[in-house]
Amino acid sequence: MSTTVTPPPKKVNRIGLEVLSYKGAKTTLCAGCGHNAISERIIECFYELGVQPWNVAKFSGIGCSSKSPAYFLGLSHGFNGVHGRMPSIATGAMLANRTVLGIGVTGDGDTASIGLGQFMHLLRRNLPFIYIIEDNGVYGLTKGQFSATADLGSKLKTGVINDLPPFDCCALALRCGATFVARSFSGDKKQLQAILKTAIAHNGLSVIDVISPCTTFNDHEGSTKSYSYIKEHDEILNELDFVPFYEDISVEIDEGEVKEVELHDGSKLRIKKLGRDYDPSNKFDALKAMDEAEKKGEVLTGVFYVDTKKPNFMEMLNLQDAPLATLPESKVRPPKDVLDQVMEELR
């Protein structure tokens, strides 16, 4: 269903909206916070792909990261819930209206500490949903305590060293059922854009772990989530190129090194492997790559896994295509004879 559209006039996207329609309120996060950069990328991607903002719903838990949905897509409904429980709220909302595009933004504390149980069970369900973890290894909003993604040996400003092994949200996502799994860095504009756009086009659960340094509490010497540390240790797994369904791919480049994944809406993700031999449709390859990176102390970023075939939660539930939220009474209240029949059975 990929169609050719004449490129829209300079200042508006293909549905005629300006980038302004995709912005939110002024951020109240710290200057230089990685989270702000991620908000920028989200604004760009939704604008560039021409997603209808009022057909999007934003979700978050509690934290600096979870505040950020207020700072993008101001024309979309937003729900800033309670700490660590965003997955359940989002699941309910998506079930109520499966035609809405859902995006969740949360923190590493929100996801891997208090919210781990809900996160893991969301994974099992492969809910069509974009789940972004703005990962800084600390609780920013409560002033910088370690979260459960803090790396072994990472140091706080206070000198405290983390001696508990971190949860790798990508590894968990991969093992437990997410169908698009990627890691990126708030500072890597191009990579993050390609990943976000793929998530927008994907028809299942996307889990994106974005390393997003906390300039105020975790950007110092000794932190493994500082800008400088990530820049030094960022090991890019693959080069990504997203081609939206409404664009023709003219130039075909050498198939040998590029794997092309066709996504639900006809868009394509073109994955160029760098060095290591790697098949992003193979779970176990992905896990191996992660394990090796872990041993080498690298921060592996890129697309780990994408599966466009696995049935999503809506399909498992054999759910109506029309939103449950607005089904007419005739569809949701059985007629009187049904009640009479049941009563008869109980006599």
Binding site: G81, S88, A93, N97, Q320, A325, L327, V332, K336
Partner: protein, 614 residues
Amino acid sequence: MSTIEVSAASPRSGEFQQPVVNDFSIQVATVNGSGSQTANSVLMRAIFQMGIPVSGKNMFPSNIQGLPTWFTIRTSKYGYIGRKKEIDFLVAMNPETAREDVMKLDAGSAVVYDEPLKLDALRSDLHFYPVPFDKLVGPVCPEAKLRKLVRNMIYDGIVANLLSIDMEEVHKALLKQFGKKKAKAAELNWGACQAGYDYAAKTFSKTDPYRVERMNATAGKIIIEGNTAAALGCVFAGVTVVTWYPITPSSSLVESMIGYLKRFRIDKETGKATYAVVQAEDELSAIGMVLGAAWAGARSVTSTSGPGISLMAEFVGLGYYAEIPAVIFDVQRVGPSTGLPTRTAQGDIISTALLSHGDTKHPLLFPQSPEECFSMAIEAFDLAEHFQTPVFVMVDLDLGMNNWMADPFQYPSKPIQRGKVLTAADLERLGGFARYKDVDGDGVGYRTLAGTNHPQAAYFTRGSGHNEKAQYTEREDDYVNNMDRLTHKFETMRAHVPKPVIDYNPKANVGFVAFGTSHYAVEESRDQLKAEYGIETSYLRLKAYPFTQDLLDFIRRHDRVYVVEQNRDAQMLGLMRLEYSAGEIAKLRSMRYYGGLPLDARTVTDDIVRQEGK
């Protein structure tokens, strides 16, 4: 172990006992997992079919197999269907409890028992009917491994004979119980039943006074559990998202709902479900999904019991403050903590009304019967969406899991009420909206649903401080205004919640206030008080919190008002104390029971008489 003083006098000797017709209770003592449930249901149903008011209560343990279970069936020509404290007719099948079961009986009661137990040695003032169950079951059930089950059906036959229950009705009930598919099993069991009947016929000369006689008091009625009724209510309320986490005594509510949804809520055209049911990983997730779904416009519900309510505390506070509709069933069991998971209570009243930190208040509905489980389920959804707040339906184990006689349910008379939701067209007309503005003076703002096709539809929902436009704020005035509006909204609700049922007795200066299953004991106790002590009473049965003006008037019209409830701390009375003035409070008295059994009339009567100093 109780040791009762018993009179030496044997019932057989001389003095003749008046026949007791349609006014006694049968108790079957077995172990759970032994399949006695079927036999008990058949017995109850047969009596029901004879037109005699009947109720059945299952006292089961919190395990799956092998512990003592008691099933009591009460027949009452007066239509009392609460628990009767005294057991008149015992079927003692459980060696473990047989002795204590027998010692508890009043003199003159009857006992059918398994012969080897030799219970007749225990007392001389009872009517004993020994039955060699193992001998009898052999011939009727060749297959050894089925005997454990079929055995039970034998006592149905015995009891039918002794109480002159019509075997035709027993057969009919048995066939209904087993259904078409299990015809062979039905036959086998019917054989056992008859064997029991015949044995009794040729062996016993009846000495006890208990028997049944046909009446016409159950015509057209149904037999149903409260949880099933509530499930049906949700289905006809047009529920679209159901989330749950299993817990006794709530599980069967959702499980029966699933059954009905599968039957009646698959879209004919598309063959797809017009609902979603999710078994969540726990109660925090269950309530989170409900809030998310309701926020996006689904009619959503979850059902749980005390421990689940506690786990939902934080989320329910979000629902209150962000103003999101939700229907939550609390099928109450005995707490605190795990307490007695298979015993009944009304013990979550005040903690649920005030659930969550900060200043919070939630409406509660109190169904008393299957009919109300059905109708209040529907009312709960309308109320929740009208007032954009979580609404709790407070059932209890007795109502939810026991079998009740009920009138067939009324099909909803008015269409589904979705509350103040703005569509794209509305927004076009209005040119925008302010989510938390009290436009209509009732404290309820207008909301939009995610996915509404309009650029001005969006707003940002949060549990933190917000102003009328749903914008983040930490301003003192914004916060106070919002909190005051929430109070006003709660006050507005008083005029919209179900009104109490009131029986004013002009001769009475004593009034009863009760709710839920306490009703049955109170109803009967009122008659006892009048007949035995000449105490006239009025009665107000509460259906909802917040209270309506009616309660205040009722209290004012009486000198003493007894609030009857099944908890230790007089929780409902507490809610009244929180809002009433000293004058009314001075009139309030408390009658509490918290032993875990369904409340019985005698316990109420004795306590009121004590307090009335009679």
